[in-house]
Amino acid sequence: MTTVTKKADKIDRLAELMQTTEVTSGASLWREAMRRLRASKMAAIGAVVIAAFVVIALIGPWIAPYAPTAQTWRGDVFPNRGEFVGMRSGNWFGLDHLGRDVFSRWLVGARQTLLVGVVSMLIGLVVGALIGVCSGAAATLGGRAGQRVDTVIMRFTDIMLSLPSLLLAVSVAAVLGQSLTTVMIAVGVVQIPVFARLLRGSMLVQGGSDYVLAAKALGLRKRRIVLTQILPNSLSPVIVQATLSLATAIIEAAALSYLGLGNPDPAIPEWGVMLAQAQRFFDNEPMMAVYPAVGIIITALGFTLLGEAMREALDPKLRG
Amino acid sequence: MALLSVDELSVTFTAKGRKDSIAVDGVSFDVAEGQVVGLVGESGCGKSVTSLALMGLLPAKGVRIGGRAVFDGQDLLTMSPQYRRDIRGSQLAMIFQDPLSSLNPVVPIGVQITEILERHRGMKGEAARKEAAHLLDRVGIPDPARRLKEFPHQLSGGMRQRALIAMAVACAPRMLIADEPTTALDVTIQAQILELLKELVDQEGTALLMITHDLGVVAGLCDEVNVLYAGRAVESAGRRDLFTYPTHPYAHGLLGSIPRLDAPRGEPLRPIRGSINDRIAWADGCAFAPRCDRYTMECLTGTPELTEPRAAGHQVRCVNPVLPKSKAEVSA
């Protein structure tokens, strides 16, 4: 038994040695992609926007002039009569319908928005990737039984994909009740099938490639093939999708808020909630909605630009 | 008088932010009616770009074309785009390398033929279909009526190339350009396709410009041969002359690098060293010099002129040509 294991280890090491050539070519592939990414104007704009957003999200709550719940009004806001105060010194973005400082809430909201985006993306990424890896590994190396497992899992993701994302999120929110966590989970759940499909598809492509065949021929253990050969080479589309998902997550969260399923805590002013609250007064005081809306659009645009630029940089068809 | 007379044709690719790259650098040759002329060279020598330039199929942007290409008394390179469109497919037609990718996968073969007949011969409906079936029959496709309704993926490789040839000859063009028509095919099919081309040329008196890297094809088909290197003709001769007395060191090397059955056992192959990337600009001297066994300092003093060092009509662009009588000479 031990001799057999030793032999297997030896073979694995041999294969790893062989793989070094693959790895170096892979590395130069990444270097090439990085070079193209740096040359891309789209990526540069995206990165600058994201950096600005992250900085605001980090320092926003400290530089906010007022607490997000503080009513700083001077008896001059009457939402029922459509009377608002616009920009003025001390309240750069004006006051909202409850007389709170919109600028402060916007700054604090940036952090919440980033949080919602990142956490829900991670939920989708982690769960989706797990499902995808299982499915992909089963399909490439599991033989006939594995393929059956793969089919079942994929049917399941098909069902999830067929539902309008918003409805899926609403269903989750209905079970969990209203909170910030709910929004994150609901938006994250929508991303699960996307990541699962993507990683599986990408693993299937890699699983059919010559170097995996070589690894199989060398008798490498299956788990090792998946972990050291297939998976690392399947990740680039997932990274692209993760970047794009940050944009969708922020937009979806805003839509959930609009449907009244957003985070109800007034001390945590997420941009989606601010927008949902402000839209009721849009005809009288559009700017109140425009600030969070512009925040959402610009941020989503930043992530989309970077994601698209990464996709282009990694696309072998465009290389040359 | 030649049907097509190409004079100092040059094609330069210009991309923003990159150095211009010269694909064709002053190529000249003539093709007479009923004549088969070969353009030979390794990949990257500019032979395909030459054919696309003659057909007007290069993109309008990012390409600079110079020189003249007079076809039937008119310069192809300066005529109006609409007139060129009229000539293309009717008087000057082309056969491409990869028959599968060169056929539209979602359009039946029949339509891909009748559309030419509609465009250039004004045929319609049943008449066009009959003519298309006749064309398929002529290029040796059995059961043409059925094949007309089929799609490219339903045909075999050889049949696809026959269908492409049928399209090219649909309007009885005065000249055909064939760009590596046999490269993507099995050897047995290659011979059949070459036979078919030969037959069509003989019967119709069509001029044929044959673009290939395969010296076997040249030997079997061409009357005149132009050997291209790095976008320029280095040797132009009749087939017999070229194969018997290859005079430019490159042509000499090309013929020498073919494995021969009648060579003594154990004799090593003699490949040309390096690749076409090891070259200098023609403006500075002979582009082949870095790979050449015979090069001297003289090779690096500007583009060598075309001369006829051996026989009239056998043009060579070399200052140190391989001449048959100088067997005794020992190169340094």
């Binding site: 069902i159 539902l163 409805l167 449907l259 959402i296 | 491409f96």
Partner: protein
Amino acid sequence: MLRLVVRRLLQLIPTLLGLSVLLFLWLDRLPGGPASAILGEKATEAEVARINRALGLDQPVYVQYWRFLKRIFELDLGTSTQTGQPVWDEFALKFPATVELSIAAILIAVVIGIPLGYLAAKRRGGWIDVASVSTSLVGICIPVFFLAILLRSVFSVQLGLFPASGRLTTGINATEVTGFAVLDGLLTGELDASWDAIWHLILPAVALASIPLAVIVRMTRASVLEVLGEDYVRTAESKGLEKRVVRGRHVLRNALLPVITAIGLLTGSLLSGAVLTESVFDFGGIGSFIRTAIDGRDYPVLVGFILFIAMVYVFINLLVDIAYSIIDPRVRVH
């Protein structure tokens, strides 16, 4: 062709079964369960127990599931807790408005998106290309409901160019035949009603079209770029064919294949968008209905809608597959 349809319908069965299991589990997990969903949150325990018995919720899970499944197959989706009407009847009543809006949105997206995507690809790097690609990126990033609010505020509230809500002006003479307002007007000869319905459709349809339009422009552009580099396009050019023929038969016929698939996959996001857009414009279709169902936790309506949507999605993708197999002979063979 028939084989394809039958096969796809058979594939539908496991999908719907799986979905029904998920939905059943979901209903089971709802806070308070169906009883409180029906009775509201202030129900007494005795009442809950009574309802549970009446609904058979005191029975084993598999029995409950079987009953649930049976009801689905009988198209009995239960009763809306809000309106008291059968869910199915509500859908039948409100679906035409949503279909009309969705079709209008897809039409806008296709009619503008495909030519724009083609032009962008054909003049790659030109101003049309840059403008359409950047606009479509922005289009994807604007929350649909915000765009709807913006359009409504600017074009109807401020400028008064379009009606701000509803499907028809109240008081206009419109006879209902099919439930599709535009079509009804044409059928009954009440052309002013048709015109009025179109007038009401434009703003919500434009808002709803934003995402499909962006997707179609980008898909078409990418696809045309790829096809333009194909050998068969060069062959078509070498035949001297007219530009019109090269563009239609050789470029677009191939380039539109992936676009058609994309349109099928857009169904889900279109319906999400319809819920949001309809509620902004108070359009009165399924979207508005679902919006109030979400507010009122009207679970029978939500469950029914999810099942309904799954069927619509599968049906539309079946249509897409059929269209695809008509255009692409390579699929037909398998």
